[in-house]
């Protein structure tokens, strides 16, 4: 398998899923031509009618997926940019999330909604958003946001096999930026589990997506200064892995949570609450968050975009303060 980028990991996994199970099909905008990020490139030629260009209508992409999944197929919907998924909020949150709940499991929806998210790509307000908090607030939808190519493969496979709607978030900045040697790479195969990616005794950093990589780089810098950070890759944002969060928080008593999403109402608040509620006696410093500022969306100009985005330097600065506390 050798080296693989994130986009290659996604594409090869889709290819394998289509080959292995003829119930699997893909629908979304421009997917027949390969999609704007080339995630479905080459699949139309191989799988024909099972790759379906949709009208430009996010709500119906999700609604049609619900119907098809209910009928027993395994739709994988692509929403071209996460920023546009909110047109389908109703179908995801009023319908898909409670299909199993409102029928006590008589009916269920084995469907995946893939979508590229995140900033740092000069995407401005509507091609940069972090949407995870909206949907992680909805029990019944699983939300997955990997960072490494190997996890993209294993967790996308798990999402396709899952009998529940899974929102699979792909950080678009990392599509071709992150490469990984796949042979022997650790790969989480279960949705709902976080991974302690690095262990250190001074503080614990929680992150996901692009910010996980930035946190790991920051941790290496800090290591050179004698500060050792534990870094947790959250991987699944809903349902979130309480056990690993508490284990990692207790190990150091100093917690830094990093996300691109804006501060208020971001997942950091939930993680902080879990720790405050269940690991209070292990806390050795106030919990800190590095997050996007509370403005509606990421501004376009690169100077303002940089200002918005958390990065390795901002993470390292906060970590130093926390270690010194």
């Amino acid at each position: 398998m050798a080296l693989m980028t994130v986009i290659e990991a996604v594409r090869s996994t889709l290819d394998e899923a289509l080959a292995e199970d003829d119930r699997v099909f893909i629908l979304g905008e421009d997917v027949e031509a390969g999609g704007v990020f080339r995630a479905t490139e080459g699949l139309k030629a191989r799988y024909g009618e099972r790759i379906i260009d949709s009208p430009l209508s996010e709500s119906s992409i999700i609604g049609v997926s619900i119907g098809a999944a209910h009928y027993g197929l395994r739709p994988i919907a692509e929403i071209q940019f996460a920023d546009f998924i909110h047109a389908g909020f109703d179908q995801l949150c009023s319908e898909a999330s409670r299909w199993s709940y409102r029928t006590r499991g008589d009916a269920w929806l084995p469907m995946v909604v893939r979508t590229p998210w995140g900033g740092g790509v000069h995407g401005g307000q509507h091609h940069s958003q972090s949407i995870e908090a909206f949907y992680s607030h909805m029990p019944g939808i699983k939300v997955v946001a990997p960072a490494f190519p190997a996890d993209y493969r294993s967790l996308l496979k798990a999402a396709i096999a899952d009998p529940n709607p899974v929102l699979f978030l792909e950080h678009k900045r990392t599509y071709r930026l992150i490469r990984q040697e796949m042979d022997g790479a650790p790969a989480e195969t279960r949705i709902g589990r976080a991974r302690i990616t690095r262990r250190g005794n001074d503080l614990t950093i929680f992150a996901y997506g692009l910010m996980l990589h930035e946190s790991l780089v920051a941790a290496e810098t800090l290591s050179g200064e004698g500060i050792e950070a534990t870094v947790v890759d959250l991987l699944t944002l809903n349902p979130i892995d309480h056990e690993t969060i508490l284990e990692a928080a207790k190990a150091t008593g100093k917690v830094l949570i990093v996300h691109e999403d804006v501060l208020t109402g971001g997942l950091g608040g939930e993680i902080a609450a879990i720790i405050a509620e269940h690991a209070f006696e292990y806390l050795d410093a106030p919990i800190r968050r590095v997050a996007g500022p509370d403005i509606p969306a990421m501004p376009f100009h690169h100077a303002m975009e940089d200002f918005f985005m958390p990065n390795r330097d901002k993470i390292a600065t906060a970590a130093r303060e926390l270690a010194a506390y």
Partner: protein, 341 residues
């Protein structure tokens, strides 16, 4: 339970040309319409007695519902109904007892086990798609089911319903668009009952008929008299047959009338002219049907009375039985958030 059991004489299964329905089917149609109406009446009585929390009824729409549902193949075709579709549910096999379990949100109601408000139908076993209170979302689900069936080359038809008020939602148009692009076997069945809660048609749509929308999607469609169950059947049945044979989707509008308030919590006297109601009540679908089959000499009066008596007895028994059934336990609120296989 169908009218067969209540009959003293064997009814012919042979299609009567004028009706496109057999004697047996006509008897069934009367039975289902009557059962739906009497159930709704009993439900409202239970509500007024403080024993049922909420009723949302289909009074005035029984002909539309029963006529359309009878055009489907039960056990094969899918139904994605909306909350007024008690009549359709009865055709698709729900019993009076089960309807009462649903009304009372009892533990064993298979629609939602007390987790949704009454009349939010759903049963995979009966091929009835679970629905929410958010109107018209089911139109898109119907398109998805039909797409999946088409991909699998299964010869099924999906019939989905809404009121005319719901046709203003994006879901309505998005579903029609999908179905038309992919020529999916879906019947979009709009029961135009004149009101979206208090809003009349003209507040909801600039076109005269919902079915006029078919042109925008290059789709087949029709308007039919929703107070006449036989006319509804005669409109929907050919559409179903066409759709099953690859003819694509249909948009059918049944003109009917909501004889009751929007729900047990609504006071329609605030917005509905009394005169209008009186006019429409003359066209009550159940009365209309009975008069027609009686005057055409299909059934003698006693036979129709007999069906009526049977329905009354069924409902009385069903309500008594259902009231004694167990409620869900408080902690039944938990579980099945995620399906585990």
């Amino acid at each position: 339970m169908t009218a067969t059991r209540t009959s003293r004489r064997a009814r012919s299964q042979e299609t009567i040309d004028e009706y496109l329905l057999s004697e047996q089917q006509l008897a069934d149609m009367y039975y289902y319409m009557l059962l739906a109406r009497r159930l709704n009446e009993r439900m409202l009585a239970l509500n007024r007695q403080g024993r049922a929390p909420f009723v949302i009824a289909g009074a005035g729409q029984e002909a539309a519902q029963v006529g359309a549902a009878m055009a489907l193949k039960r056990g094969t075709d899918y139904l994605a109904p909306y909350y007024r579709d008690l009549g359709m549910m009865l055709v698709f096999g729900m019993t009076a007892r089960e309807a009462m379990l649903n009304l009372l949100a009892k533990r064993d109601d298979w629609n939602s086990y007390g987790r949704q408000m009454p009349s939010h139908w759903g049963s995979p076993d009966r091929k009835i798609v679970t629905q929410s209170s958010v109107v018209t979302t089911q139109f898109v689900h119907a398109a998805g089911i039909a797409l999946a069936a088409k991909m699998k080359k299964d010869p099924i038809v999906v019939l989905t319903c809404c009121g005319e008020g719901s046709t203003s939602r994006g879901d309505f148009h998005e579903a029609l668009n999908w179905a038309a692009i992919h020529q999916l076997p879906v019947i979009f069945f709009v029961q135009n009952n004149g009101y979206a809660i208090s809003e009349r048609n003209e507040k909801a749509m600039p076109v005269k008929h919902v079915a006029d929308r078919k042109r925008a999607y290059d789709m087949q469609g029709a308007v039919c008299d929703g107070m006449d169950g036989i006319a509804v059947y005669q409109t929907v049945r050919p559409a179903v047959d066409q759709a099953r044979n690859g003819g694509g989707p249909h948009l059918i509008e049944a003109k009917c009338y909501r004889l009751w308030a929007h729900s047990s919590d609504d006071d329609d006297s605030r917005y509905r002219p009394k005169k209008e109601l009186e006019e429409w009540a003359k066209k009550d679908p159940i009365k209309l049907f009975r008069d027609r089959v009686e005057s055409d000499g299909i059934f003698p009066r006693e036979e129709l009375d007999e069906i009526e008596a049977r329905v009354e007895e069924e409902i009385r028994e069903a309500a008594q039985w259902a009231l004694m059934q167990p409620d869900p336990a408080p902690e039944d609120a938990l579980g099945f958030v995620y399906k585990e296989l």
